[in-house]
């Protein structure tokens, strides 16, 4: 297992290198000069050129790339042009929100998605199944910003149950109770994703239910609920576990819209803002971090596979 992990990490290197080149190219091809944005409306072209040179943007692209790569290898993602702070620090402050948001969303997905999915599958073909599975599909069809907008109107402005927006850090005044800021955003984000999990759990369970070993389990005289959970759901979990991993990875980055609607200081919004500001080091840094995260989760999913499915041997 250790050897496997090491080997996998080694094979990540070329992929990561390719990813860095792509990230760098994409980001630097975007039109717009960060110096101009920094200096604002009244700056003259000379002033912009001067600052641009100070920031090192006048050098050839490949030199900029290797300088950047060299720093990245030393764990230094550069300095944000806009914040004049290390990119790692900028990302770090966004990461708290994003990870908490993704985690809370995962909690909703697990406490809503799994049971409804199991219910839908065990009641396959009944009206319960029809309502839950169509309902899930409907939930997955709603644009998140539209949903978020109405959730704010109802639960914050009208009812005053939850804060409308923003997220003070857990280390801020209020501590753990600041999580209440994330309730509406995480629900918004959970709606389509929980729906996908409902559909996935249902589909996987129906697939597993057709397998021969389930018939064997029933032939033992087991209670249908025990068959459903211990034999069908347990095996369906193999497919669902992967989805969980990738959903979590996706939540970090795909939360852009939700973070914008709820004005959360997360990584997604950081990227959008950084794109608008042409804060290249931050865009590069965030995308790189997410790519690494994705790959790590990919690895974790494979390790989880091995735990869940003894047929998978890690070699």
């Amino acid at each position: 297992m250790l050897a496997y992990t090491a080997k996998r990490l080694l094979t990540l290197i070329p992929t990561l290198l390719a990813a860095t080149i792509l990230v760098f190219l994409f980001v630097h091809l975007i039109p717009g000069d960060p110096a101009a944005i920094l200096l604002g409306d009244t700056a003259t072209p000379e002033e912009v050129a001067q600052l641009s040179a100070e920031l090192g943007f006048d050098r050839p692209l490949w030199i900029q790339y290797f300088l950047w790569l060299g720093n990245v290898l030393q764990g230094d993602l550069g300095t944000s042009i806009f914040f004049r702070e290390p990119v790692t620090a900028v990302i770090g402050s966004g990461a708290e929100t994003s990870i908490l948001l993704a985690s809370m969303t995962m909690v909703w997905i697990i406490i809503l998605g799994l049971p409804i999915g199991v219910l839908s599958a065990t009641k396959h073909g009944t009206w319960i199944d029809q309502i839950t599975s169509s309902g899930a599909m409907l939930a997955a069809s709603v644009p998140t910003f539209w949903l978020g907008l109405y959730l704010i109107m109802i639960f914050s402005v009208t009812l005053g149950w939850f804060p409308s927006s923003g997220f003070p850090s857990l280390s801020d005044e209020g501590g753990i109770t600041n999580l209440r800021y994330l309730i509406l955003p995480s629900l918004t984000l959970a709606a389509p994703n929980a729906a996908l999990i409902v559909r996935l759990v249902r589909a996987s369970m129906l697939d597993v239910a057709r397998e021969d070993h389930v018939r064997t389990a029933r032939a033992k005289g087991l209670h249908p609920a025990r068959v459903a959970i211990k034999h069908v759901f347990r095996n369906a979990l193999i497919a669902v576990a992967a989805a969980f991993g990738f959903t979590f990875a996706a939540l970090i980055s795909e939360a852009v819209v939700t973070e914008t609607v709820f004005s959360l200081p997360g990584i997604g919004r950081l990227v959008v803002q950084s794109i608008l500001r042409r804060d290249y080091p931050v865009i590069q840094g965030v995308i790189l971090v997410i790519v690494v995260l994705y790959m790590v989760i990919n690895l974790l999913v494979d390790l989880a596979y091995a735990r869940l499915d003894p047929r998978v041997s890690l070699k």
Binding site: T216, A217, R218, A219, L222, N235, R311
Partner: protein, 324 residues
Amino acid sequence: MALLEVENLHIAVGSGGKLLPVVQGVSFCVDENETLGIVGESGCGKSLTSLAIMGLLGDSTVRITGGSIRFDGMDLLTLSAPERRAIMGNRMAMIFQEPMTSLNPVYRIGDQIAESIRQHQQISRSAARDRAVELLTLVRIPNPSERVDSFPHQMSGGQRQRVMIAMALSCDPKLLIADEPTTALDVTVQKEVLELMADLQDRMGTAIVLISHDLGVIAETCDKVAVMYRGKIAEAAATADLFAELAHPYTRGLLNSIPVVDRDVEWLEAIPGRVPTLEETLTGCAFHPRCALATDFCASRAPETSQFKPNHSVQCHFAGGSTT
């Protein structure tokens, strides 16, 4: 009274809003320590019959539409679901065709056997495990105390089928239903598994219903045979009686179709045509389109079950004997 009595069993499959009869009036009985072989080609209804006895026709599209199944004095079809489950895996057990897929791949085989035991007996975890090792020894798995912790994918097909047998025998069932237990296995392994089953039956006195498409397997293992064709029992008798004198043209055709290893046959006497599909409705004898003896009469009237010889029944207008 026999251990298992199936009487006039009818099973139908729902398809496109219609109910298509698959099993039409099948009756047979099995005594303790007796092996009944049910033989037939694919689609004849033999597997559905076995699933119906076991109570595994879970799929809502398949339904028992008539008849009765009595097991050990109980009418199985009138039992409640929990009562039925108390019998399943306990006094009546089943093994299946596909040893490769019939075991849950994510659990150790010992746990799967123990699960079956603990479902029906108040017994501790460790005692169930000991019993599992015992059972694995019984089915001649080498190194049973180690293999008990193996996962199914770590075993060969033959070994898995032995595990299935161990699992089926875990609660000393009175009846064992084996649905094509050796079809997926190589002949050499098939022989070992069949011998194992026969051996266990000798020791435990279990009744066995063995379902197979292979006449050879049936002939070697069973005390009596029922030959099914398209949902009906074409011919049934004690094995020796049946092969002594084949009464039904289908049974004869089937036998003549099999290329044998013991002698050279220039041309096989194949049955012409094919088994009609479920959608095709047939009047009269189901076999008449393929039967060399068939007349107009065969096409218009279905034959009743008649006694060809004592304990040798047949459904054919041309077989001798008295109609019952």
